[in-house]
Amino acid sequence: MSLIYPKESLSAYPKHLSPEYKSTVKRSPSKPLIIVPHTLSELSGPAFGHDAMQEGDNDLTKQGKGEPLGERIIVHGRVLDEDKRPVPDTLVEIWQANACGRYVHIVDQHPAPLDPNFTGAGRTITDKNGYYKFITVKPGAYPWGNHHNAWRPNHIHFSVFGQSFLTRLVTQMYFPGDYLFPYDPIFNSVTDEKARNRMVSAFDLENTIPDWALAFRWDIVLRGREQTPLDNDEH
């Protein structure tokens, strides 16, 4: 089986230049991107063994001496390709603000408290069904400097690798029904509503653990689908 990576699938991506998100203005290419074929250099890609992980790397509530403050949550789902096949053995990394909306990053100056029991970084490798799971706390909203009274909706940053260097994805997972959605230029840089909603997790009552943690379900779909005879004809 050999996967192909049609560029049309990228149509839902934000444009490099999305002026409502002001930092894109000087950090987006202005000249046309050069179209080149996918070679071995793009069709291969890094893989990470389980030896890169340590037990508990996917549990962000166990990294301190005590439990972090905030709503304990389970975030889980599957990494899939465009044919809905699971992407097994792939690295998924996350980072996020704490329950108060503060990152441990030294540059974050939001005057909300740090939590000595919460770093906000986690990682895991998908199993043979493409399944991943994290235990964490729900990140808080926080202000940022893009425009007057700008606040980011609650989100968890995700970094995923997939089968090749073309499937590399860095994105953000949002929570259902966030009242800040209409005002966030990063979320709305994805202009198609259906595509935008693919970044929003679903509340998952079935996998919520009674008396312990709410669950949110989020599947991630990476580039890549099986080549069909029609694709061959095109070449």
């Binding site: 894109t24 000087k26 950090r27 000249k31 071995l40 980072w95 590399r168």
Partner: protein, 204 residues
Amino acid sequence: MSEITPSQTVGPFFAYGLTPKGRNKWDPNGTYSWKETAGDNLITPDATGTKIRIEGCISDADGAPINDAMLEIWQADSQGRYLHARGEAPRPNAKFTGFGRSATDKQGVFSFDTIKPGAVAGPNGKTQAPHIVFCIFSRGMLRQVYTRLYFSDEAANAADPILALVPADRRGTLIAHKQTGGAVPTYRFDIRVQGDNETVFFDI
């Protein structure tokens, strides 16, 4: 068919999760507690070939340094073999992954210590000159950009099928220049995201 999950920016605060040891480029007081998955030194005991260093600065439309970028590289080994290329025999030097990550410092400077890659197979039976694929993320980038580094001292560049698709007047942005002196051969590769002498990025 299922539709793909859109990209979003890596934002300004990824370092403690993705490049935790890169903090010492930023702040002499140390690193974050999280261990890195991959760093900017790719050299392993099983790596064969010429050790090299790559250094550069990434800057924006005004030429201002981008001090919160993450650069990822993917490359073949000294014999032109990728670690996880489908249909190829497993490589014996499997500890050399060919994947690296570098944060930038306050001056927008990144660096990698690695092995000079060999030539690799290209489309239509052609050979690609030695090169390294770069994938770049930063605050203000809603999606990653891809570029390639080629080496100034490689005659094979003249016949490279990918370089041939780049307009001649922009090809120079993809060439890393060998520096004189230094204990390890060092190649300078500056990246300009926008503006005069804008680096070539690929639509792939």
